[in-house]
Symmetry: C2
């Protein structure tokens, strides 16, 4: 018998969409089942932000269930804030916390923003700002914690000082003075849950005073700008050139605050030139504006002299912040903020109202590592390792992508590669690389206004061999970027 000729087509048994199998749905509670399946897919990033869900009629037909079930499930997801429904545009997955908050960012960029993992098919995660976590000093941390727990008083385990535990404040004051030229006292420094919390607290205080516009570097950290916007500030993109942020543009825009990365501009890597530093501080003093100095990876400099923090030159107008995220691990959530004294009491109020204080044990452990010299030792080793890796990436770029311009190489954990064709779309390039297992950030993600196409490549987290492989893979993925073969040399 010929099974094919004349057989009645079987009803659709399942759906390609998420491989949903209605046979798995309980006969009662299909709505709960479908809602749970969709919710899980969204929360696990299998349906990235921007994805459009199938039309209710189509999905109902594919699954062989009542259309009302699908409608109800979509409705519930909307109520949970996971999807957005627009007339004639259907139901789409709403962007989530750690992706961009801009709902108009296209789907393909969204997949670039979510944290990559091997499960996503990412073999080489070249995210900027990630230190080599395999070298987190686990043994030293544990030894220090053993000492801390042996010596900590009961009072140390109670509710802590919102400004942070005195032992860590003391050690950081010494270390910051020594390593970053920061001038401060134990009474001025506040321990925070990373630079993210510094920005949150400063934004809250400025917002409360009606100071709602904040200059941000352009190109500049997209994550930081988004966070400031969450707290009700309006980011004012201010151009960056080879000398750093343009103070003339800043003065014209005249915001009440500005966020800068003077020691190693993110992402372009330039240093704020001396004349710009002076002009920045002069503007801030004259305009009574707040300069937020994000010292995010200033400990890593390779080819040039250390760049002292701006903070010491203008204590009244600069809020200095940094953390252990790039030197030890982002998971610690341990950073510091030195606000101008006039803002200190309000900053402490905001910190107390946010989480009372940062956890004490890890503060004491960091204090121990600073006091014993173990932190400095760790940094020295890390710096040496970073330099080797940076060199490997530079060599690989010269070999495999010689048509590209490379920026920001003198310091940090990442560099920027400008793509040679000014007309190319770096988001598409990054998408192509992502499909080939390499996670990079398109430079345009950090640009508020259109800029040159490029890629931000982190190198700190990979061995030289892996870096070379990754760059070779990038070159293979981008045939139009590779050098034309010279018939005489091939």
């Amino acid at each position: 018998m010929d099974h094919w000729a004349g057989a009645t087509p079987s009803p659709a048994a399942g759906s390609d969409f998420l491989q949903l199998d209605p046979a798995a749905a309980p006969s009662r509670g299909r709505t709960d089942w479908l809602t749970a399946q969709l919710r899980a897919a969204i929360l696990e990033s299998r349906l990235p932000a921007g994805t459009r869900l199938p039309a209710t009629r189509s999905l109902a037909e594919d699954l062989g269930i009542a259309r009302g079930v699908v409608v109800e499930a979509y409705q519930r997801l909307g109520e949970e804030g996971l999807t957005v429904s627009r007339p004639r545009a259907g139901t789409t997955v709403r962007p989530r916390a750690h992706a961009s908050r801009d709902a108009s960012v296209p789907h393909d960029m969204m997949s670039l923003l979510s944290t990559p993992s091997p499960r996503d098919g990412v073999e080489y995660d070249l995210s900027p700002g990630l230190p080599d976590l395999s070298h987190f000093p686990r043994a030293a941390w544990l030894r220090a914690e053993r000492d801390v727990l042996a010596q900590a008083s009961s009072a140390d385990l109670g509710y802590g000082d919102p400004a942070g535990t005195p032992a860590l404040r003391t050690e950081l004051v010494r270390w910051l003075g020594r390593a970053r030229g920061v001038r401060t006292t134990e009474g001025d420094i506040v321990i925070v849950a990373g630079v993210a919390q510094s920005l949150a607290l400063l934004a809250q205080v400025q917002h409360a005073h009606g100071r709602r516009r904040i200059g941000v570097e352009d190109p500049g950290s997209r994550g930081a700008a988004d966070e400031l916007a969450h707290w009700g500030l309006t980011p004012v993109p201010t151009p960056v050139d080879t000398n750093g942020i343009r103070i003339d543009a800043l003065a014209r825009a005249d915001p009440q605050s500005v966020l800068v990365t003077p020691a190693h501009q993110f992402p372009m890597g330039v240093v704020l030139a001396p004349q710009r530093r002076q002009a920045l501080l002069a503007w801030a003093t004259h305009a009574e504006a707040l300069v937020i100095e994000d010292d995010y990876d200033a400990e890593y400099r390779y080819d040039r002299a250390p760049v002292p923090a701006v903070q010491a030159s203008a204590l009244d107008h600069v809020a200095h912040t940094g953390s252990t995220s790039k030197t030890m691990a982002p998971a610690l959530r341990l950073g510091w903020l030195i606000p101008p004294r006039r803002l200190r009491a309000e900053i402490l109020d905001a910190k107390y109202a946010s989480d009372i204080s940062s956890p004490t044990i890890s503060q004491l452990v960091l204090a121990h590592l600073l006091a014993s010299g173990a932190y400095d030792q760790h940094l020295r080793r890390t710096r040496t390792r970073q330099r080797t890796r940076r060199d490997a990436m530079l060599a690989a770029l010269r070999q495999h992508l010689p048509g590209t311009q490379v920026l920001g190489v003198a310091a940090g954990l990442h560099l920027v590669v400008l793509l040679p064709d000014p007309a190319c779309n770096d988001v598409e390039v990054a998408e192509r690389l992502r499909a080939n297992g390499i996670h990079t950030q398109p430079l345009s993600w950090h640009c508020h206004h259109a800029g040159p196409p490029g890629l931000v490549l982190g190198y700190a987290a990979h061995t030289p061999a892996r870096i070379t492989e990754a760059v070779a893979r990038i070159a293979e993925s981008l045939p139009d970027q590779r050098p034309r073969r010279n018939k005489m040399t091939s």
Copy 2:
């Protein structure tokens, strides 16, 4: 020679106020010196909030320095937000973060609110809500952290999931289901920096939706009400009786949210009666209001059956929160929040914008302790110890203060003693006790509207012998509260 007769009186050498010694001031920089002395005294609570600084002329005369120096120093402190100057009221120390934010709270209450320490002359700290930190399981914590660091992947040390690390979410889901009757999934629970952060995030989300009024129990946690006010909500005091919060009053006030402590009302210790629970959930469903259930010390019950969380009965309307602050140590800043699903995405956005995620290592350590049974073991021992201490305090109260009524004894880490004279001022009583080395909280501190005078006494952090001493000392300090001596028995 008689040095005394006819000698010119020496100029005032110093001041009683803070024992300031102008001889210690550099001849240049007296303003800096004086400002620093005053600032330190304020930040170290030697000048509690509400204290009025000496008139500038007086202090200048006492110190033998120019009046302009004192004026400038006071000016700087004002700019730093540490003091407030009012015409004809002089300069007073502004209330600080962990004291009440109400500038009208009198000086004497302020000293009761600052964290006591032996340096302040506090021998017995009977603050409620402090577990016995000498029994923090340091060895178990360190053992667990050793295992965690040995097994953690590099990815575990990167930027974490704003909802918390999956291992801890899984273990907490199991534990909360088992211990508190909480019905939830890994996808619903969020790890936060203590209940303080839960309240912050919920307040931010409710505020953003224009839902700005929140019922608070009266008597009820002053700290919680102050924090909610910081985030722009208006606390609506709602009376509590022996069955818990009055739902009829709540419904009349009709706020958009309410904060409750159903398992063990703080501070009175009552359990929310079953009919009130039903009425609360019925009101919340009908009014589409949010019930925030603060499960702060529900693990400690002595004489009665466990009280299951309200949360399981109304997943859509209850946000359940709890932490390790009372079971392990406030210093951990480790808690959980289970918001209604419709708020989850916004809660995660707010968490991410606050501090990205909670620190990962301590999350993994807690997960380890939960999985291994060490947490349960610690709780069992602690519960036994607490019961013994509660019994000691009850016995001491019966012996030394038999005229007083004692409330809230069946569970928790504290109880309430109502003072027999309804006209007495419990703030003055607490001040008197403080002067005698015993730190207690006056009940009126937690009352929005006038209530019976009383004291909130924590017993968890002291041995039975110390508890008995403390209560005896209380009785000695309050002669009018003691039983009259019976001539026949004395």
